[in-house]
C-alpha cells in the first residue's frame, strides 16, 4: 500500500479541521472503550487470561521454526499447497499466478490486513482481475476508493449518510430510499451475494494457524469470510508467519480476548476452522486450497528488541483507547496499521525515516498497554523507536541537541540553578501581572495552543536556600 506517513502532521491537521469527521471519531472514542470494558468486567479473568495468552504467544515465537514446520507438514497432509513469500511483492505474484492458472476473473475477498499491507487488490486489478471485498466495511471503502481507517472497523470513519450516497452513486439499482442502516446492509448483501456465487477464487486471511493440526482460524461476524472460503472452487489464505499457535485450544483461548477486546462481544457469530480442500466424500468446498505465508520483515522483528510486537493479535483495542487515534483518525497515520500498534509496526515493516513522526505521536499515557490483550508494552516500544531515531540521527536536530544540553545541564546543579534562577526571575518579572504568556520565544509549539503560565516567583531552590541561610 502507498505510504504517506511522512506527512503525518499535515494529515493530522487536515483531519482535525474536518469537524463532522471529528465528531464521528469522538463518538466512537466514547463508545468503543465502554463496550470493551463491559465485556471484560463480565468476563472477570482478564489479567489471568492475558498472562496465559501472552506466555503462549511468546512460547510460539520462541519456537517459531518448530511450530511453523509442523504447521506446514500438517497443512500439506490436509491437502493444501503452502507457499512462502519474503516480501509483499512475492505474495502478490504468488496469488496472481494461482488466479491465472485457473483463468480466474472474479475474486471474492474476505477481510485481510496482510493483503492491505501488500497492496494485493491493486496488483490483481492491474492484471485485469475483478476483485471484490466482501466484508461490509471493506466493501464500502473499496467502493469509495479509500483505505481502511481502523483494523477492525475499516469504514467507521464514514457516516451512514455518506454510505447511502455512495451506494446510490455506485449501484445501478434504480429509484430507492435506503433510509435506514438496515436498508444499506440489505443492499450490500444483495450486491455481494451475486459476486460470491460467481467468484472463481476466494481470498481470506487467518486469525491463527494451528501447528498441531494444520487448521486456520477465521473470525467474523458477517460470515462473509466463510462464504469466500466455501463457495469458490479455489481458496487462497493469505497470512503471516507470526500467526502460528501450537494447539487448537490456544486459538480459542486467544479468541476469548480477541473478540471482547475488539467489539465487546463474548463471541463472534462465526468462528471457523478450515483444514484444506474438499475430500472425496464431500459435496462442497473448494477443489484446491493454497496457504501463502508472508514474512515481510517479521523475522527481522523476531530477532530485534521489538519482538514483543509480534504478540499482537490485531484486536484494535489500542486504537480504540488511544486519544491521539481518536483525535486524528486512522488515515492520518498514512499506512495500513494506525494507532499505537501501527506506530510501532509501520516503522518496523517499512522504514523509520518514512515513519519518523509516528513513534512521536504518543503521550506515553499508557492506556493502550493497559487494555492490550497480549500485554505488549506499547509506550515502551514507541519510546525505544524514538531512541532509535536519536541514535540514527533521524530525530529533528533542535530536539536532539536541545534535550542533550538540558540533560547535561541537569547534571551540573550549581550551573543549572544559576541559569534557571536568572531565567525564572526574568519570566516572573514579565509575567507576574498577567499570570501567563500568550507568546514566548522558543515555545511556539506550546503557545500555539495555550498560554504559558508565568512562574510564581523566584525558583524554589533560590527561596529555600535563602531561607536556610537566614535561619542559620
Amino acid at each position: 500500500m502507498q505510504q504517506y506517513s511522512d506527512t503525518f502532521l499535515d494529515n493530522a491537521s487536515a483531519a482535525l479541521a474536518d469537524k463532522d469527521k471529528a465528531e464521528v471519531r469522538d463518538a466512537m472514542a466514547l463508545f468503543t472503550p465502554l463496550v470493551r470494558n463491559a465485556a471484560m468486567d463480565q468476563f472477570q479473568h482478564f489479567e489471568e487470561l492475558r498472562q496465559h495468552v501472552k506466555q503462549v504467544r511468546q512460547h510460539s515465537l520462541d519456537n517459531l521454526g518448530h511450530y511453523l514446520e509442523s504447521y506446514e507438514q500438517q497443512a500439506v497432509r490436509n491437502g493444501n499447497q503452502v507457499h512462502f513469500a519474503t516480501t509483499g511483492d512475492e505474495l502478490n505474484s504468488i496469488v496472481l499466478d494461482i488466479c491465472q492458472q485457473h483463468s480466474a476473473r472474479r475474486i471474492a475477498k474476505g477481510k485481510s490486513m496482510i493483503t492491505e499491507e501488500t497492496g494485493l487488490n491493486a496488483f490483481l486489478e492491474r492484471a485485469n482481475l475483478d476483485v471484490m471485498e466482501t466484508d461490509l466495511g471493506e466493501y464500502i471503502i473499496q467502493e469509495a476508493g479509500e483505505t481502511p481507517s481502523h483494523i477492525v472497523g475499516p469504514a467507521l470513519h464514514k457516516s451512514a449518510a455518506e454510505i447511502r450516497q455512495l451506494f446510490l452513486d455506485r449501484h445501478d439499482l434504480g429509484e430507492r430510499e435506503l433510509e435506514t442502516t438496515e436498508d444499506l446492509v440489505s443492499e450490500a448483501r444483495q450486491v455481494l451475494r451475486e459476486h460470491f456465487l460467481n467468484a472463481q477464487v476466494g481470498i481470506i486471511g487467518a486469525n491463527a494457524l494451528i501447528a498441531e493440526n494444520g487448521y486456520s482460524m477465521l473470525v467474523t461476524n458477517e460470515g462473509n469470510g466463510d462464504l469466500c472460503a466455501n463457495l469458490p472452487p479455489v481458496l487462497i489464505i493469505c497470512t503471516s508467519v507470526d500467526r502460528i499457535l501450537p494447539r487448537a485450544e490456544d486459538a480459542t483461548a486467544m479468541l476469548r480476548l480477541l473478540v471482547r477486546s475488539a467489539t465487546g462481544q463474548a463471541q463472534t457469530c462465526y468462528t471457523s476452522f478450515y483444514s484444506g480442500p474438499r475430500r472425496e466424500q464431500d459435496i462442497d468446498g473448494p477443489m484446491e486450497t493454497h496457504i501463502v505465508l508472508l514474512d515481510n520483515r517479521r523475522s527481522d522483528i523476531l530477532a530485534s528488541d521489538y519482538r514483543e510486537m509480534l504478540q499482537c493479535i490485531r484486536c484494535g483495542a489500542c486504537l480504540n483507547h488511544c486519544p491521539i487515534f481518536a483525535s486524528v483518525g486512522g488515515h492520518a497515520y498514512g499506512w495500513v496499521y494506525p494507532g499505537p500498534m501501527g506506530s510501532v509496526l509501520t516503522p518496523l515493516l517499512t522504514s523509520l525515516e518514512q515513519s519518523q513522526a509516528l513513534p512521536n505521536a504518543c503521550t506515553s499515557c499508557g492506556r493502550c498497554a493497559e487494555v492490550c490483550p497480549a500485554d505488549i508494552p506499547l509506550p515502551d516500544l514507541l519510546r525505544d523507536l524514538r531512541h532509535a531515531e536519536v541514535e540514527e540521527k533521524i530525530a529533528a536536530p533542535r530536539w536532539r541537541q536541545g534535550l542533550k544540553i538540558h540533560a547535561w545541564l541537569a547534571r551540573q546543579p550549581r550551573l543549572y540553578q544559576l541559569l534557571t534562577g536568572m531565567g525564572i526571575a526574568l519570566l516572573y518579572l514579565l509575567g507576574r501581572k498577567r499570570g501567563s504568556f500568550s507568546k514566548l520565544p522558543l515555545a511556539s509549539g506550546w503557545t500555539s495552543q495555550r498560554d504559558f503560565p508565568s512562574p510564581q516567583g523566584r525558583t524554589f531552590m533560590q527561596q529555600y536556600k535563602a531561607e536556610h541561610k537566614h535561619r542559620e
Partner: protein, 263 residues
C-alpha cells in the same frame, strides 16, 4: 560541602524523607514544594531537601535520548540513597524513578536503582497509604466544588486514583465531582505538546471542557505538567476555573494566584 548538599528542615524523630521537588515545581510553582514540606512535617516526617537536585531527566528520556540520561539517573540514585523514603509531588517523576531508572540502568546501578525505587513515592500515595496522614487539629478547609485530573503516569504506572480523593475528604471534607473521560490523557505528554501542538490542543480542549462541565470552581491534580497544560488552555479560552496542585488544597494555600493567574 555537606551542609550545602543536604538540608533537613526539622530535627527530631520520624522517618527521613527526602523531598525531590521536581523541576516544574522548582521553576514555576515553588508553593507546591513548600506545601509538600509542610504536609510531610505535619505527618511527623523529618524532611530533607537535597540541594543538588535538578530534574529527573524525563524530557530527554521520553524523547529517546537514553545515553544522556544514564549519568543523570545514576547521579539522582546516588543522591537519594541515604533516605528512608523519597517523596515527589508528581506521579510522572515518581514513575520515572520507580520504573524507568531501573529499566535504564544496568548491573550494579540497576540494583541500586531498584533499592531507591522501592522507597520512592508520589506524595498523595505516601500520605495516604504509608503514613496514613490525618487532618491536623484544625477545622476542614472550606473549598468550592472541585474536580480532579488523574494524570496518566500516576494513574497507570503507580495506581494513584483513590489516594488524592481520600486526602481531600480527610483534609478538606470535600468530595470530587468526577469529570467525564477522567482517565483520558490531557495531551501534555512532555515534549509531545510542543512537537504535536495541534493534536495536543484538541486533547487539552476536550479535557478542559469536561472539567468545566462539572461546574467545579477548582481543577486539582498531582502533576504540574498536566496542570500547566490545562491552566494554559483555560487562560487561552477564557474558561474560569482555578487550576491548582493538590498540595495547595490540602494546606489551604488558596490565597495566592492559581496556576496561570496574575497577581
Amino acid at each position: 560541602m555537606e551542609s550545602e548538599a543536604l538540608h533537613t528542615t526539622a530535627p527530631g524523630g520520624g522517618p527521613a524523607v527526602y523531598l525531590f521537588v521536581t523541576c516544574l515545581a522548582d521553576l514555576l510553582r515553588p508553593s507546591v514544594a513548600f506545601n509538600s514540606i509542610k504536609l510531610l512535617e505535619d505527618a511527623g516526617c523529618r524532611v530533607t531537601v537535597p540541594l543538588q537536585q535538578t530534574c529527573c531527566g524525563q524530557p530527554a528520556y521520553n524523547t529517546g535520548d537514553y545515553k544522556s540520561i544514564i549519568p543523570l539517573a545514576r547521579q539522582v540514585v546516588a543522591m537519594l540513597e541515604p533516605a528512608d523514603y523519597v517523596v515527589l509531588p508528581s506521579g510522572s517523576c515518581a514513575g520515572m524513578i520507580c520504573h524507568h531508572y531501573p529499566a535504564l540502568l544496568k548491573d550494579e546501578w540497576h540494583e541500586r536503582a531498584l533499592q531507591v525505587a522501592a522507597k520512592t513515592f508520589e506524595i498523595t500515595t505516601f500520605l495516604s497509604d504509608i503514613v496514613k496522614a490525618k487532618r491536623p487539629e484544625r477545622p476542614p478547609i472550606p473549598l468550592p466544588p472541585i474536580t480532579y485530573h488523574d494524570s496518566c503516569a500516576g494513574l497507570r504506572e503507580l495506581g494513584i486514583k483513590e489516594q488524592p480523593r481520600q486526602l481531600l475528604q480527610e483534609f478538606c471534607d470535600t468530595q470530587v465531582s468526577e469529570l467525564q473521560q477522567s482517565e483520558v490523557c490531557c495531551g501534555f505528554g512532555g515534549t509531545f505538546c510542543a512537537k504535536m501542538p495541534e493534536i495536543s490542543g484538541k486533547m487539552v480542549q476536550d479535557k478542559l471542557h469536561n472539567a468545566a462541565a462539572t461546574g467545579a470552581g477548582i481543577l486539582a491534580g498531582g502533576d504540574l505538567g498536566c496542570l500547566l497544560n490545562i491552566a494554559g488552555r483555560a487562560r487561552r479560552e477564557g474558561v474560569a476555573i482555578e487550576v491548582r496542585h493538590i498540595t495547595e488544597l490540602l494546606c489551604g494555600d488558596l490565597d495566592g494566584p492559581a496556576i496561570g493567574e496574575g497577581e
